[in-house]
Amino acid sequence: MPQSAEKILDHKDLFKEPEYQAMLEKKRATYENATPAEKVAEVEDWTKSWDYREKNLARSCVTINPAKACQPLGAVFAAAGYDSTMSFVHGSQGCVAYYRSHLARHFKEPSSAVSSSMTEDAAVFGGLNNMIEGLANTYALYSPKMIAVSTTCMAEVIGDDLNSFIIKSKEKESVPADFPVPFAHTPAFVGSHVDGYDNMQKGILSTFWKDAPRTAGEGINIIPGFDGYAVGNIRELKRMLGVMGVEATILSDVSDVYDTPSDGEFRMYAGGTTQDEIKAALNAKATISLQEYCSRKTLAFAEEVGQQTAAFHYPMGVQATDELLMKLSELTGKEIPEQLRLERGRLIDAMADSQAYLHGKTYAIYGDPDFVYAMARFVMETGGEPKHCLATNGGKDWEEKMKALLASSPFGEGCQVWAGKDLWHLRSILATEPADLLIGNSYGKYLERDCNVPLIRLTFPIFDRHHHHRFPTFGYQGALNVLVKLLDTIFDKLDTESDISFDLTR
């Protein structure tokens, strides 16, 4: 009997005990009709061959292990960054349970959103009644200052019209007539979570900006984009802005709501951009987006109202941060202060100290389009060589941008860009053309296991490691965190693989 009260074994050790091993072997041999082990090994080898890779890359219909989620997740995330805003997702209720779980598992925080709980009858008659009743309940129970409505694919397929539904709900006094109910159609069969983020941002801004008079001022708006590191990153962004003396409005600031303290109180809402700030943001001189692919429609709308716009690809690393600061300086006329130059110098110092370990390391990088762009760029700044850059939700234009970036550095030579491919494609790619390191999210752990490539978790979602998102990856300080993660993995690998050269000092 393997179990004892003194030393309690859980799943990790329990099933390695001989009693369980014997039981599992018997099950496999007697009842499973399992494929013989030799055949399994043979097929496993084949899955790592060039022949398999060609068949795998030729897939045109089925998607396996995609690195993307659907639009409403992004919409819920964007809405969470506004003061006391409840997401109301119109459609089937299971979806909302999924978004909430997904966000809670990453941030290790509560995630609040409601559903209009549509079922068969709503599929036939439309979901108007669900919206009328649902908005009234949400308003009464959760006392939001704003309810942000998005859609599941069910509501999209049956063609529910949010605008008219919300007007009718207000006529029925579900919420007061002047209560803000911004909305965004977020079909799951178009784009991905980054588009849902964009659509909801546009929906919220339109609610307050459309038809409102604009007096052009000097303010700056910043759209952070969908970002698993938003807690650390938005705080770091605000710190940099503070050091520069730039007063900017963050449009969707989730840094507090996804990082509330444990002090006895559950805060359903915390922090976030206020409605006064949204209204005032109309007068801003410019709206800049830190992630272009999360904000194309929103930036177009900002231009429509008369603002200047600029878009970046995730300000991580040296040049990406330089560019952001210089743009802010250009727009505001404020100098980049000495303090930030010193921080930059310290980052460069760290990179110089460690360059011998970083130079020439090869990487496979996957994630959202803006992240992959930034990550590849920073890797090249360290002397590393991206070998594979993959974004399941990246399109043709992303691919071209990536190629231009890679062409800008000798370290980008030979890197392949995989737009629209999934992580099962990446498995074949890594098995045939390996890289030293893999950068991605928790789903990369299967690739780490199958292809024996160390995984560095640097993007959403991270379920199996805790608290990384509390530390920034934006800016010079953030780059330092990223640098240390790369180095730790490199050094751990070196130690694991060393015998004679198990050096104390590296």
Binding site: F15, Y31, A34, C61, V62, Q93, Y99, C153, W424
Partner: protein, 493 residues
């Protein structure tokens, strides 16, 4: 004691009234039917402590209230089909459903992932606008071909329909029939669109029906030629979360039974095909798989019985009840196994009971655990002060009375608002629920364990699991972090 019960019943009824006060009238009327306290029995019945089926259940959730429930797809793909390890399960439709449910239920299995086993993979037809407009049948057909080429050792493919499938009129049954002939493997179409029914529950039912129609009654498969032994049984409704089915199976084998199929944790399709040959179906999760047990009883003459492998009292009672269906040899074995594990139980209780005795627990889980785990807590000297189900039916609430004392707070399909208010008012020592409830509760300073995923621990079934369960409840409640919530300069004198 009786006074205590009356007091708690009264306090709980008052609490329900207070919580309902926040609702608009229409929703208040609906929600009132789902909240109650366990009632005294009108007539004493042996083994039954209270009447819990006074709440309404299995009814549509009220829109806009933050129900914790999922959908039919979650019930079919997430629960019933997803764990069948040697089949590929296509999340048919847009990318989200498969993505959010990817590897989240911890259905442990042996095998080589991506080669002969596929549980922790996300396979989807990733619908685009064109597929909605023109239909997805062609894409599905081609997807099946691609999967069969890339995963030649697969033993079949299931099609888990997402919302759009049923709305755009795709004929996944026709595709299945056609492709079954083409690739000569089982293909199972499941119409588990998320808008069907009111919760995960209908998804379980539909998934069961598809096992019936497209597996058991569609040909004998591995059952052909199998000569059943007199001790052949099936484990039904155990999804092997954290290895639960394994720490159950080991006990059944120890008492001399042969488990010929595990449904569906660590299952292969051959096990499912062979199951109707067994002498007895042992069902753990009644809610999700009673349908197929009834079918096997009617069609194949396999009797079934419920059992409960949470906590030593229920394990011993269940082992005896199971053994009673067999001969004296098995009965003697069961006694020997119970005796064998008694020292472990005693040692676990000696270690943890003093640390947990008298602690109050509130539960809110799926369709089985809100009652099945109750006696495991009782074995540790803990007390259940509230319980409720996401997707139970009336027969589940009826069974809840076997475990729950009168006066206990009962909540069906609880809303986020209600649960928060109940927890705030009762301030239990532990809440056992899901990921969506975990962090909210912990912020309030109340220890929490996820009781769907075992909070990434487990197994909790069987004697080996009980030790882990006891350890986990202790570490949750007795961690020093709960004493540090107040800043010392803010502490009242």
């Amino acid at each position: 004691m009786a006074k205590d019960i009356a007091d708690s019943a009264e306090a709980n009824l008052k609490l329900i009234e207070e919580v309902l006060a926040a609702y608009p009238d229409k929703a208040k009327k609906k929600r009132a039917k789902h909240l109650a306290v366990a009632q005294p029995l009108t007539e004493a019945e042996p083994g039954i402590q209270s009447k819990c089926d006074t709440v309404k259940s299995n009814i549509k959730s009220v829109p806009g209230v933050m129900t914790i429930r999922g959908c039919a797809y979650a019930g079919s793909k997430g629960v019933v089909w997803g764990p069948v390890k040697d089949m590929l399960h296509i999340s048919h439709g847009p990318v989200g459903c498969g993505h959010y449910s990817w590897s989240q239920r911890r259905n442990y299995y042996t095998g080589t992932t991506g080669v002969d086993s596929f549980v922790t993979m996300q396979v989807t037809t990733d619908f685009q606008e064109n597929d909605i407009v023109f239909g997805g049948d062609k894409k599905l057909e081609k997807s099946i071909d691609e999967l069969n080429e890339l995963f030649p050792l697969n033993k079949g493919i299931s099609i888990q329909s997402e919302c759009p499938i049923g709305l755009i009129g795709d004929d996944i049954e026709a595709v299945s029939k056609k492709k079954m002939k083409d690739i000569d493997k089982r293909i199972v179409p499941v119409r588990c669109e998320g808008f069907r029914g009111v919760s995960q529950s209908l998804g379980h039912h539909i998934a069961n029906d598809m096992i019936r129609d497209w597996v058991l009654e569609a040909g004998e498969g591995a059952r052909a030629g199998y000569v059943a032994g007199e001790y052949d049984v099936n484990i039904i409704g155990d999804y092997n979360i954290g290895g639960d089915a394994w720490s159950s199976r080991i006990l059944l084998e120890e008492i001399g039974l042969n488990v010929i199929a595990q449904w569906s944790g660590d299952a292969t399709i051959a096990e499912i095909e062979r199951a109707p040959a067994a002498k007895l179906n042992l069902i753990h999760c009644y809610r999700s798989m009673s349908y197929i047990c009834r079918h096997m009883e009617e069609k194949h003459g396999v009797p079934w019985m419920e059992y409960n492998f949470f906590g030593p009292s229920q394990i011993a009672a269940s082992l005896r009840a199971i053994a009673a269906k067999f001969d004296a040899k098995i009965q003697a074995n069961a006694e020997a196994v119970i005796a064998k594990y008694q020292p472990l139980v005693d040692a676990v209780n000696a270690k943890y009971k003093p640390r947990l005795e008298g602690k109050k627990v509130m539960l809110y889980v799926g369709g089985l655990r809100p009652r099945h785990v109750v006696d495991a807590y009782h074995d540790l000297g803990m007390e259940i002060v509230g319980t409720g189900y996401e997707f139970a039916h009336n027969d589940d609430y009826k069974r809840t009375g076997h475990y729950i004392k009168e006066g206990t707070l009962i909540y069906d399909d609880v809303s986020g608002y209600e649960l928060e208010k109940f927890v705030e008012a009762i301030r239990p020592d532990l809440v056992g629920s899901g990921i969506k409830e975990k962090y909210n509760t912990q912020k309030m300073g109340i220890p929490f364990r996820q009781m769907h995923s075992w909070d990434y621990s487990g197994p909790y079934h069987g004697y080996d699991g009980y030790a882990i369960f006891a350890r986990d409840m202790d570490l949750a409640i007795n961690n020093p972090v709960w004493g540090m919530f107040d800043a010392p300069w803010k502490k009242s004198a």
